[in-house]
C-alpha cells in the first residue's frame, strides 16, 4: 500500500472511531438531561394521568445500555427513530432540515471561500499598505460584531427600508432556485460576513508565514511579480492551513448558525435541534448531535486528507 493511501485509510479509521465515541458521548449526555419528556410535550395544560400515559407509551423506562445499542443499530441501518413529540420519522423530518442547512451553507461557502482567499491574497500582496489595512480592518469588524446585530442591521436596511430582499428566509420544496436564492440572500450575506473575516485573516497569516520562506526570496530574486510569487510560490504551500481554516468555517456554517436561523426564521438544523431540546425530545437531539458530530469530523477528515495530498513529500515519495 502506498504510504499516502495508508495515511488516508488511517485517518478514515480514526474518523469512524471518533464518531463512534461521539455517539456514546451524545447518548450519555442526553440521557442525563434532567426534565421530563412527557410534561415538556404536553405543556402547561397536562394532567398527571395524561403525563403518566405518555411516559409509558414512549418507553422511557428501558435500561439505557439496551437503548444505546438499539439506537446505534438503528442508526447504522439509517433508522434514526421516531420523534417523541410528534411521532414523525426523524430521518425524514431531519433530511429536509439538513438539506436546507446544507443549501444555505453551500451558497454562503461558495461566496465566502473564494472571496476570503482572494482578499487574503490581496492583503498579502499589499501587506502593510492601505488595501491590506482596509481589508483587515473590515474583516476585523465583521468578526467582532455579534451575528444577531449583523442580521438585524441587514434586515433593517435591505428588507424593511429598501425591500430588496425578504426578511424571512422561508424556503420550501415548491420554490424555484431563483426564489430560494432570493429568500436566503440575507442569511447568506450575514453568514458570509461572519466567516469571511476568520478565513481571510487565517489565509493571510498562512501565506505571510510562507512568505518568510527562502524559496519565496528565491522567487523574488528571479524578478517575478509580487502577485505571481504569492500565487505560484506561496499559496500552494499554504494550502494545508488554508484548507484547515476553510473546513472549520464550513463546519461552522453547518452546525453554528442557530442565531442566524432564529433571526431570519430559516428552517434549518439549528432551530430544529433547539426546538427539540426544549421538548426533551431525546431521539431527535441525539440524531442532530450525531449529524453535527459527523459533519464536523467529516470536514476535519477532509482537511486532514487534503493536507496529506497537498504535501509533495507524501504525494511523491522518494
Amino acid at each position: 500500500m502506498s504510504p499516502i493511501l495508508k495515511l488516508v485509510v488511517q485517518r478514515l479509521a480514526l474518523g469512524v472511531l471518533l464518531l463512534l465515541a461521539a455517539s456514546v458521548l451524545i447518548f450519555v449526555g442526553t440521557e442525563i438531561l434532567p426534565g421530563d419528556v412527557a410534561s415538556a410535550i404536553l405543556g402547561q395544560g397536562a394532567t398527571e394521568q395524561a403525563l403518566a400515559n405518555l411516559r409509558i407509551e414512549l418507553g422511557l423506562n428501558d435500561p439505557p445500555v439496551t437503548r444505546y445499542f438499539n439506537w446505534l443499530f438503528g442508526v447504522l441501518q439509517g433508522d434514526l427513530g421516531v420523534s417523541l413529540s410528534n411521532r414523525r420519522d426523524i430521518a425524514e423530518a431531519m433530511s429536509v432540515r439538513l438539506s436546507n442547512t446544507l443549501f444555505l451553507a453551500f451558497w454562503a461557502a461558495i461566496i465566502a471561500v473564494p472571496l476570503a482567499i482572494l482578499l487574503g491574497l490581496v492583503a498579502v500582496r499589499y501587506e502593510g499598505r492601505w488595501p491590506d489595512k482596509v481589508v483587515s480592518g473590515a474583516t476585523l469588524a465583521t468578526i467582532s460584531i455579534p451575528e444577531f446585530l449583523l442580521g438585524y442591521i441587514a434586515m433593517y436596511f435591505l428588507a424593511v427600508q429598501y425591500r430588496i430582499f425578504p426578511s424571512v428566509a422561508n424556503i420550501n420544496a415548491s420554490m424555484s432556485l431563483g426564489d430560494k436564492l432570493n429568500a436566503i440572500a440575507l442569511p447568506v450575506l450575514v453568514l458570509v460576513l461572519v466567516v469571511l473575516g476568520h478565513m481571510m485573516r487565517m489565509t493571510r497569516a498562512a501565506i505571510l508565514n510562507v512568505m518568510q520562506s527562502a524559496y519565496v526570496e528565491t522567487a523574488e530574486l528571479k524578478g517575478l511579480r509580487s502577485f505571481t510569487i504569492i500565487w505560484r510560490h506561496a499559496f500552494p504551500n499554504a494550502i494545508a492551513p488554508v484548507v484547515n481554516v476553510v473546513m472549520i468555517n464550513l463546519a461552522y456554517l453547518v452546525v453554528g448558525v442557530v442565531v442566524v436561523e432564529v433571526v431570519f426564521v430559516y428552517p434549518g438544523m439549528g432551530q430544529y435541534l433547539v426546538d427539540h431540546v426544549a421538548k426533551r425530545d431525546i431521539p431527535v437531539v441525539q440524531a442532530c448531535g450525531l449529524v453535527f458530530a459527523a459533519v464536523y469530523i467529516g470536514l476535519n477528515l477532509v482537511a486532514d486528507i487534503v493536507s496529506i495530498l497537498a504535501n509533495p513529500r507524501l504525494r511523491h515519495p522518494k
Binding site: S85, M155, N172, R280
Partner: protein, 530 residues
C-alpha cells in the same frame, strides 16, 4: 359625502382601487385618517367578501415538534391551524354567545345534566367521508379516555357517559353544568373521522381548509375545501402559515409585505409598527392574564398578611404601561375581568399602596430573608421584566424579592405549579365557572395557588347548578372577593391580544375569545388584491 369619494369608496371596497390611494385622496378631501378608515371598513363589509388569493400569516408559537394531532396541540400555531382546518360542535360569537357549528341544535335536560347535540347532516370530511354522530362520539371518547394525552382531558372529566342516538350525540354529566356548550368550543375538540383513533395526526377534518403541506415549526399550507358545508366561511383560495417566532422578524415580515397578518405584536413596538405604511394594529381585550402565583399552603406564603403585602406592593398601572405598553388593563388579583359574562363591576380595584404593603409585611412577621420569585420569558412575554419591576416596587415597601430566572425549557414542568412563587400565564376560559374550576377549586387539576377554601368550593358548585343569573352573579362576585383577598394570586394585568394586518386584508372582527379573531382569522378575512 361627495361623489368622488363615494365612487372611490366603492371601487376600493371592490378591490379595484388601492387602499392607500384612497386614504390619500380622502385626506385631500378633508377626511381624517380614522374617519376614512372606518368609512372604508363599513363600505368593504357592505361590498361583501372578495374571493380568492393566497393569505400568508406570520405566527409566533410554532415548534418543529408540533403535530397535527389535535390532542397534542398546545401553542398558537396549532391553535390557528386547527381552527382553520377543523370544526367543533359549537363556537362562541364575538359577542360571547353560542353559535352552532357541527351541532345543529342543542337540548339540555332541566337539571342541565343531560345534553343532546343534534349533528348537522351533509357534512363531509376532507377525505370524502360523511360526518356522523358516531364520529363525534369517537372523537369525544378519544379526548376523554383516561389513557389519552389530550389537552382537553381536564374539561372532559365531568362527563359520566356518552352515546349516540341516531344523529344525536348525547352527554350525561356527573354534576349539572349550565356551561357545557362553552366547554365544547375548546379547540382540541375538532371532530375527526372515527375520532382519529387510526391516525390522529392525518390532518383529516371537516373545516373550510384542507391540508396541503405540513412542516412543523416552519410552514403550514392549506387550501380551500370546496365541499365545506358553510359557504359563508373561507374566502381565500389558500392559507399559508409561516412560523416566525422572532418578534423583530415578524414585524419585518409584515412591513416588507411577506405576510399579510401576524399575531402577538410586541406591545412596545406596536406604535412603531403602526406607523409603517398600510399596517393596522388590532388590539383585542381578552381574558388572558399575566400573574404571579403563591402557594397558599407553603411558607412563607401560608401567611395571608404576606400575600396581601405582596399584592399591595405591585404597581399595576406601571406594569400595564411598561410591560404591555398600554395594550391591556389592570388586574384585580382575581382571574376574572369584564370580558366574562356575569362579571361584577362593583368589586373595588386593588391599588398600589406601599403603606399597606409595609403594614401587612410587618404583620406577617416575615424574617426578612429574600423571597425567591421564579420567572422566565416563557411564563408570559416580559415576565422577567415584570418581575424586575415588582422587585423594585416591593423593595420600596421593604420587601426583599430575589428573582431567579429559570430555563425556559421545563418551566411548565419544574417551576410552575411546583415552586411556591412563580410567574405564570392563564389564557382565560369562556365562562367564570370553567376558570374557577380549572384552577381555584380545591380539587382542581391545576390548583396552582394551592387554594383550599370551603366557602369558595361550596359557592362554585352552587353557582354551576344555579340557573338564575342574578343569583349566580352574586355568587361569582363573592367568589371573586374571596380569591382577591385570601387567594395566592397576584394578578397585575390582563393582556390584550395585539395582532396586525397590512392593507391587503379585509373583514377583521375583534373576538375576545382569543387572538387572531379567536383563531378564525384565516377563515373569515379576505384579500382585497386577490
Amino acid at each position: 359625502m361627495n361623489d368622488e369619494l363615494r365612487y372611490l369608496l366603492a371601487r376600493t371596497a371592490q378591490g379595484k382601487h388601492s387602499r392607500r390611494a384612497f386614504l390619500g385622496r380622502a385626506g385631500a378631501l378633508g377626511l381624517t385618517a380614522a374617519a376614512a378608515n372606518s368609512l372604508l371598513a363599513t363600505a368593504v363589509r357592505a361590498a361583501g367578501p372578495q374571493k380568492g388569493g393566497n393569505l400568508v400569516i406570520g405566527l409566533v408559537g410554532g415548534e418543529s415538534t408540533n403535530s397535527l394531532d389535535p390532542a397534542l396541540a398546545a401553542s398558537q400555531v396549532p391553535y390557528t391551524y386547527l381552527r382553520t382546518s377543523g370544526d367543533t360542535l359549537v363556537n362562541t360569537t364575538p359577542a360571547g354567545d353560542i353559535e352552532m357549528r357541527l351541532a345543529e341544535s342543542i337540548e339540555a335536560s332541566d337539571d342541565a345534566r343531560i345534553w343532546r347535540f343534534a349533528i348537522r347532516q351533509g357534512v363531509e370530511f376532507h377525505n370524502g367521508k360523511s360526518l356522523t354522530a358516531e364520529d363525534v362520539l369517537r372523537t369525544m371518547q378519544r379526548h376523554s379516555d383516561e389513557d389519552s394525552q389530550s389537552g382537553a382531558l381536564g374539561i372532559m372529566r365531568d362527563i359520566e357517559t356518552m352515546r349516540t342516538d341516531g344523529n344525536v350525540f348525547e352527554v350525561t354529566l356527573r354534576t349539572p353544568n349550565a356551561d357545557l356548550p362553552y366547554l365544547m368550543t375548546d379547540y382540541h375538540l375538532v371532530i375527526q373521522p372515527d375520532g382519529g383513533f387510526d391516525n390522529p395526526a392525518d390532518g383529516i377534518f371537516t373545516g373550510p381548509y384542507k391540508w396541503v403541506e405540513d412542516q412543523p415549526g416552519v410552514r403550514h399550507v392549506l387550501e380551500k375545501f370546496e365541499n365545506h358545508w358553510d359557504s359563508s366561511l373561507g374566502h381565500v383560495n389558500s392559507v399559508e402559515i409561516l412560523v416566525i417566532n422572532d418578534a423583530t422578524a415578524r414585524n419585518s415580515a409584515l412591513q416588507s409585505g411577506q405576510v399579510a397578518l401576524m399575531n402577538r405584536v410586541e406591545p412596545r413596538t406596536a406604535d412603531f409598527l403602526a406607523r409603517a405604511p398600510g399596517v393596522t394594529i388590532h388590539s383585542t381585550p381578552g381574558r388572558g392574564h399575566y400573574v404571579f402565583i403563591m402557594h397558599c399552603d407553603t411558607a412563607p406564603f401560608d401567611n395571608n398578611d404576606l400575600r396581601l403585602a405582596l399584592k399591595y406592593a405591585i404597581d399595576r398601572e406601571d406594569m400595564v404601561d411598561k410591560i404591555l405598553s398600554g395594550y391591556g388593563s389592570v388586574g384585580n388579583d382575581m382571574p376574572i375581568n369584564a370580558a366574562y359574562p356575569l362579571f361584577d363591576e362593583t368589586i373595588p380595584q386593588r391599588e398600589f399602596d406601599l403603606d399597606k404593603a409595609r403594614f401587612h409585611y410587618e404583620q406577617s412577621g416575615h424574617d426578612g430573608s429574600p423571597i425567591v420569585l421564579r420567572t422566565s420569558d416563557v411564563a408570559f412575554p416580559g415576565a422577567v421584566d415584570a418581575a424586575q419591576l415588582f422587585q423594585q416596587t416591593a423593595a420600596q415597601a421593604g420587601i426583599p424579592i430575589e428573582i431567579r430566572r429559570e430555563p425556559g425549557d421545563g418551566y411548565w414542568s419544574e417551576v410552575w405549579n411546583v415552586q411556591p412563587f412563580s410567574a405564570s400565564y392563564w389564557g382565560g376560559r369562556p365562562v367564570q365557572d370553567q376558570m374557577y374550576s380549572t384552577a381555584y377549586f380545591s380539587g382542581a387539576d391545576w390548583n396552582d395557588t394551592r387554594f383550599f377554601n370551603d366557602r369558595f368550593d361550596e359557592l362554585l358548585l352552587a353557582a354551576r347548578a344555579e340557573l338564575d343569573e342574578v343569583k349566580r352573579k352574586a355568587m361569582y362576585s363573592e367568589m371573586g372577593m374571596i380569591v382577591r383577598d385570601e387567594g395566592g394570586l397576584i394578578c397585575p394585568m390582563f393582556n390584550d391580544f395585539v395582532d396586525a394586518q397590512n392593507e391587503t386584508v379585509e373583514g377583521w372582527v375583534t373576538d375576545p375569545a382569543g387572538e387572531m379573531m379567536a383563531g378564525f382569522a384565516a377563515v373569515k378575512v379576505w384579500l382585497n388584491n386577490a
